[in-house]
Symmetry: C2
Subunit: 524 residues, 2 copies
């Protein structure tokens, strides 16, 4: 199963186009701020993706600023912004990505009659005109323009071919075929693409791409069918997040091509050992946990419960394992610190993990490390990763936890009292008697801050296993129509929840002052 | 997208073979007791599956009893027991399923050289002999015998054909081709099956089946390829649970065939409106939550976040929805009770949901309903479902919660005091100062009961959305090498955790007295 790297040639190279920050970020309840998007983009660069679709710049000032920050800071991958066909959209996308060394603008319009009629409420002729104008406008700014005929898999292939030909004529360098509603089956998609090649011979001069959704559980298989039909770019996301049932999982496609390279003959530049860590980072910041039986990155993807299987794996790994867990970055890290570990040991461990911390950031990390080490026998690399991503964010001027006290009992309603540090430096306290201890804490925080925040999403996960595991809470809440998300990590679930709530509150309040989204986001 | 039921014919009927209770139950951390397995089996019958693989009877007395109880009680589907090739295995499987009106024994042995050499440590000749003897032995007891050449997708197709021919000669009525390690790709599996048909023309006289694992994200696509190659049985599980990355998801296969019936031309007898409820029941009892972006049953599978998508869905449903959520049983139930609802309203609501409760069971349900209704403004069908599955289990003689008090604070370590009702009717209390409030409660329970239980899995989920949502805790713990699982539901997370812990403890203690597993389970 070793890869024949020596024999690889460029014609078999598959470009990985990651849309975690665009299609993924448009999932309900996901609300990443600029710093979080930057963190994910940096990790995607470490993972070796070829293109990062960083967002939809026209959607809101926050989206624009995030894409711009990624274009300015993240080196290596192409940085791409999405745009509808209007000049306003394309200008926003271009202005957001122009600072990148490798900018791309991705524009799209539907070619299916159902979308043209009900969604766009226009005609096929108008769609051709819009596609032509959009690509031409983008080409004034830059060379690397991608065009997608939205809902192509449900569209008339002849009409789609016409639109694609126009986009190529205007200079589109990548044509991406989306299965927008996750309706296609592998054989169908392959036939559609084969026909498209027949109708548009010029397709062989540009890069062909595929973008699949998982509504019927076929996103990865359809992506593979696309590659077998000749595509050399695949659009996908970490953990498969995205609209509805999500996009094709980047990690599944990467490991499928890696594991089956001798048969499929295609390869990617993905650094597979970064997969597990990228998956954990995205889970943590989005609050979207992967299920235990998720392929590649699920907790049990490499676990062998049944006796005979364990026996087989011990005798000969390949009896039941087609992939080595270390290949995706599991079990490879043996960093363990204890309560007596000092600042130097922490700093070394963090450096080994790719976090360069000093000064105040290292002080903060060390203080939190000591708090955790006092409660946990061993602090592992995964714990450190959670702490660092929890603590070392851009500090939004906002609310932080001073202290809390909770009295929870089956004999009377739970009561919470909290003290919160306010943005102006003062502290305020509040108390509440609620339905459950965590609910009581949230209401007490609302009382202390005087902000009527409304909880919209709440997830709890465990960082590592065992009774003294770190708990991770992700919260999304709403203040005056603006949403904010926050995470908190602690061995104490109430502490983690209070921290997460206060971060989400700070983000939502900052956003509600800055004003909400100005455009309507779409997804292909 | 309506199905052309009038034109359906039997040759296009696909049998759904559910292995949630066998391959699914062998997942790490899943530990279902007899009552829970029965509950799932009854729900699978309501869902309309054709075959329930109820377990691996030789694995332990508990497995045997569960399969037997299902065979005795659950009517409709074929009830199947798994067996290796030994007479002892087959006798156990037969004895477990013989009380069913429609019993099946499923026996298997590997045909791949890697398994024959490293796992079985025997020869191809011996494998042929074992397969022959196993099917012949099972046929002495019953007609409906299924045979699987394990790891077939990595095996020599000529040798596999030889073994399959022997099994058919001995009377096997179903031949199932497993992709045991999730290695196959759709095109490969199709070619393998086409070749198998060529080599074994007798295959057309029996039912051909396919069993796929999701290690590379292709389980559903491979199952579809199998059906397109001629299989008319597909082995799958609810939520796709199973060894490692799990099996093909039943709900994805069922909805793929349903949604694409006009193109694929195959159909199943699945009652799709039972899908969502079956998925929730399996999540709840296994503690395996599905991710928000899981196809068909994920929280967001039918959600439309982006503005234009919502707009499109409002204008014309099919612009962005290829499936109607009510088809899988979502949003169809409008039952809502409030704090003033009486016993009669509760009883009616439960009856509408398929739960026939009276006497003490109804009293218990009503008491718990009132507790919850006091804390929540509205009690929905999903809340009732959670309460009923939480409360109305077979009562294992064991430990129950009397009361608890927890003092949690950021200013000092959390302290818990609990009182537990012991199996002998007396009560005992214990207290503990722990790392977090929930940890402290668990340790206090250990102190009160004098049992040194060790936590091995802990999951928290929300039943419905919003600040006053019911929280659900699933726990797996270990006592003297025996595991037990339990669930608890409450608006108070500590209360839910304590209830779940005490149930799991009761099960584990009962099992440790009964003795552990006597055989080693395997999985195909």
């Amino acid at each position: 199963m070793s890869t024949a790297a020596g024999e690889r040639n460029d014609a078999d190279r598959v470009l990985i186009f990651d849309t975690t920050l665009r299609d993924g970020e448009q999932s309900p309840g996901i609300s990443l701020n600029r710093q979080e998007k930057l963190e994910i983009a940096h990790q995607l660069a470490r993972l070796g993706v070829d293109v990062i679709e960083a967002g939809f710049p026209i959607a809101s000032p926050g989206d624009f600023q995030s894409v711009q920050a990624i274009a300015q800071e993240v080196e290596g991958p192409v940085i791409c912004g999405l745009a509808r066909t209007s000049h306003q959209d394309i200008d926003a996308a271009w202005n957001a990505v122009r600072d990148s060394g490798r900018p791309r603008v991705h524009t799209f319009i539907s070619t299916s009659d159902i979308h043209i009629e009900h969604q766009l409420q226009t005609t096929r002729e108008d769609v051709i005109g819009q596609a032509r104008a959009a690509v031409a406008h983008a080409k004034q700014y830059l060379d690397d323009v991608e065009f997608s005929p939205m809902d192509a898999s449900r569209a008339d292939v002849e009409f789609t071919a016409e639109v694609v030909q126009v986009a190529i004529d205007e200079g589109a360098m990548t044509i991406n075929i989306p299965d927008t509603v996750g309706y296609a089956m592998p054989r169908e998609l392959e036939a559609f693409l084969a026909r498209l090649y027949e109708l548009v011979p010029d397709l062989r001069r540009v890069a062909l791409s595929v973008h699949c959704h998982d509504d019927l559980g076929l996103a990865v298989a359809n992506s593979l069918a696309g590659l077998e039909a000749g595509c050399r770019q695949v659009e996908c996301s970490i953990n498969g997040i995205g609209a509805r049932a999500g996009n094709a999982s980047l990690e599944e496609i990467a490991m499928l091509l890696h594991t089956r390279e001798p048969s499929v003959g295609l390869w990617t530049a993905i650094e597979t050992t970064e997969i597990a860590r990228t998956s954990r980072l995205v889970s943590r910041l989005t609050g979207y946990q992967v299920q235990p039986n998720k392929a590649i990155v699920g907790r049990n993807a490499f676990a062998h419960e049944s006796g005979i299987h364990q026996d087989g794996v011990l005798k000969e790994r390949t009896t039941y394992e087609i992939m080595d867990p270390t290949t995706v970055g599991l079990r490879s890290n043996s960093i363990v610190l204890g309560k007596h570990s000092g600042r130097h040991a922490l700093s070394e461990a963090l450096r080994e993990m790719g976090f360069e911390l000093d000064g105040q950031a290292l002080n903060t990390a060390f203080k939190r490390f000591k708090e955790i080490a006092d409660r946990k026998k061993q602090v592992t690399a995964m714990d450190l990763e959670a702490l660092v991503t929890d603590e070392l964010r851009e500090e939004i001027t906002g609310y932080t936890l001073d202290w809390f006290e909770v009295d929870a009992s089956s004999l009377r309603p739970p009561h919470a009292k909290v003290s919160v540090n306010l943005p102006d430096g003062s502290a305020a306290s509040g108390s509440f008697t609620g339905d459950g201890p965590i609910d009581a804490v949230f209401q007490a925080i609302n009382a202390a801050t005087g902000v009527a925040a409304k909880l919209s999403d709440f997830t709890i996960g465990a960082v590592t296993e065992g009774q003294d595991a770190l708990g991770e809470v992700s919260i999304v809440l709403e203040v005056d129509g603006s949403t904010g998300a926050g995470q908190g990590v602690s061995t104490d679930i109430i502490d983690a929840a209070a921290r997460a709530y206060l971060r989400a509150l700070s983000v939502a309040v900052a956003r509600s002052h800055a004003g909400g989204a100005i455009g309507l986001p779409e997804t292909i």
